[in-house]
């Protein structure tokens, strides 16, 4: 704090940081703007900036023509379901490794991490054939299973690093005071674990929502989440930019908000605790 912070320095770094931030954020801003233009305006040369007749009709059209809510519901079910199931499987595992570690705990953790390193394309063929034979192609349950398994290592890891930070002394103190195991769990451990659980849930929801390898390869229409729905705009069908922008804005808005809340946990979750 003792460092000299001159007003000039603050002014320069503020200007620089805002400029950089604006440039990086600009494609998203431009997309949101385009979603409120007419197709003609969105395609116009030179581009129209803020002074356009604003319209919200793209949002209505997107829903009417392509059943946006069907795909949004798929995204919610698949991303939410896979995250919840992964949490249910991972909480006991992470709990056990954090509170009664054995000699092999470290090896198990690293082995779990290594399953995440396997490129999905390496197992695309067998998964596709298994799914075809079991009738899981283009089903919500199929996508939920694959995204759950894909994110499980990250969930276990994140929970493990959070649980590990719960101080043991508190447990011992509670036991000395005569708390039973169930009381210990409800009154002591759960409140301390909630922040870690919440951020793990959030980050994995985001990862599952945006997953675009398995969803593109294993679903086409019925179970297609928003990633696949947006991809259907890649085939040129004349003037469609404003609608593409409207659909995209709707698809990323909820997750952007969640993402902004979870940005601090992002570093920890995605580096497996290597950078905190």
């Amino acid at each position: 704090m003792a460092r000299m912070v001159t007003p000039q320095r603050v002014a320069i770094s503020t200007a620089g940081a805002w400029l950089a931030g604006f440039l990086i954020f600009f494609p998203i801003l431009w997309m949101v703007l385009a979603s409120f233009k007419t197709e003609l305006e969105a395609f116009a040369v030179p581009p129209s900036f803020l002074f356009v007749p604003w319209t919200t009709e793209n949002y209505a059209t997107v829903q009417e023509r392509s059943d946006y809510f069907h795909h949004a519901l798929n995204s919610i079910i698949v991303a939410g379901g896979s995250t919840l199931i992964a949490m249910l499987i991972a909480i006991p595992a992470a709990w056990s490794m954090a509170f009664s570690p054995t000699k092999r705990t470290k090896d198990i953790l690293l082995w779990m991490l290594s399953t995440k390193m396997m490129p999905p394309v390496g197992v695309l063929v067998p998964i596709y054939l298994i799914y075809r034979d079991f009738g899981l192609l283009d089903t919500r349950i199929g996508l939920t299973i694959i995204l759950c398994l894909g994110n499980l290592p990250i969930v276990v890891w994140m929970l493990f690093t959070y649980f590990k930070e719960i101080p043991r002394d508190i447990l011992e103190a509670a036991r000395m005071d005569g708390a039973t195991i169930s009381k210990e769990l409800v009154y002591v451990l759960t409140p301390m674990a909630v922040p870690g659980l919440a951020s793990t849930l959030l980050l994995n929801l985001i990862l599952a929502w945006n997953e675009a390898f398995w969803t593109l390869n294993l679903s086409t229409l019925n179970a297609a989440p928003l990633t696949v729905f947006i991809a259907s705009y890649s085939s040129p069908e004349g003037l469609f930019w404003a609608k593409l922008s409207a659909a995209s804005t709707l698809a990323i808005a909820p997750i952007l908000v969640l993402g902004w809340f979870s940005q601090r946990q992002l570093v920890r979750g995605l580096t497996f605790g290597a950078v905190k």
Partner: protein
């Protein structure tokens, strides 16, 4: 004995996760290895006979493999260089006293949360379209001819899109690392008359060495299998110009239905990813002991 009970409980709690991950890893991988030794095409009812290493020979000597390996390396390498070379100064900038830093942080991190299909299509259409894209308009403002990105420089276009998606990740990790840097050390250096540049080179950069390594390894793992961005913009073309290994395997499996050779390709991808993974696991493992 309470301890034995606890141990038993611990093991029981751990079993579902390990069992599932074990199956998830072993079954598809075993099948991939098995398919890789077969002549197996979904369009050919006669297929299914054992051919040994024929698929590997076919896949590895296919000119498309060499091209896609090159493309993969160019894509991974360029995105790594771009995200780190821009990410370091950006992180240093965000570490300065900035008014409204939390808002700037939000703007910088935003691209990471945009689903790959959205970012690819928004860049392809709204920004990079040769006639109506914003970049074309900016080029004409300066009296330049607009670039037809996806015809003249398709790989570069993909590199730009993917870099935009991963720049926030690199910046955020480097920023987190910078914020844990000891202020006193920098102060002492400044008092001793070190210039801003030399304190950056001798104090900041060495401190960033580990986070940079982590960024490189994690990004590499994800970048080796970039798929959606190529799928919705170029479809691997023109020709093979933007086909990376992931896309090549996808095309062989689900467009040409050649299961055998796609499986062989899948194993090649696993081997490449594992070489990177070994280093990452080592770094993370060292951290576990601390």
């Amino acid at each position: 004995m309470a301890t034995r009970q606890t141990q038993l409980l611990a093991r029981t709690l751990l079993t579902p996760a390990t069992a599932l991950l074990f199956i998830w890893m072993i079954v598809p991988l075993a099948l991939t290895i098995y398919f890789a030794t077969l002549h197996y095409n979904l369009l050919d009812p006669e297929s299914g006979q054992f051919v040994g290493f024929e698929n590997f020979r076919y896949f590895l000597t296919d000119p498309a493999f060499i091209a896609s390996l090159e493309n993969t390396l160019v894509l991974v390498g360029s995105v790594l260089v771009l995200t780190i070379v821009i990410g370091i100064p950006l992180a240093v900038l965000l570490d300065q006293p900035v008014i409204g830093r939390s808002v700037v942080r939000l703007m910088v991190i935003a691209p990471f949360f945009v689903m790959p299909t959205v970012s690819a299509l928004v860049w392809k259409n709204l920004l990079m379209h040769p006639v109506s894209g914003l970049f074309a308009w900016i080029a004409t403002l300066f009296g330049l001819a607009p670039i037809d990105w996806f015809n003249d420089a398709p790989m570069f276009a993909i590199i730009l899109i993917v870099s935009w998606q991963w720049l926030p990740f690199a910046t955020l990790i480097l920023l987190t690392a910078l914020q844990s840097l000891d202020e006193e050390q920098k102060e002492a250096a400044e008092m001793d008359g070190a210039s801003a540049l030399s304190s950056f080179i001798y104090i900041t950069l060495p401190h960033l060495a580990r986070p940079i390594t982590v960024v490189i390894l994690i990004e590499t793992i994800f970048l080796l299998t970039v798929f959606a961005e190529i799928f919705v913009t170029t479809g691997g073309g023109p020709g093979l110009q933007t086909t990376n290994i992931a896309f090549l395997i996808y095309a062989q499996a689900l467009i040409q239905y050649d299961v055998g050779s796609a499986s062989a390709g899948g194993l090649v991808a696993v081997v490449i990813a594992n070489i990177v993974a070994i280093f990452l696991v080592r770094i993370v493992g060292r951290n576990l002991e601390a």
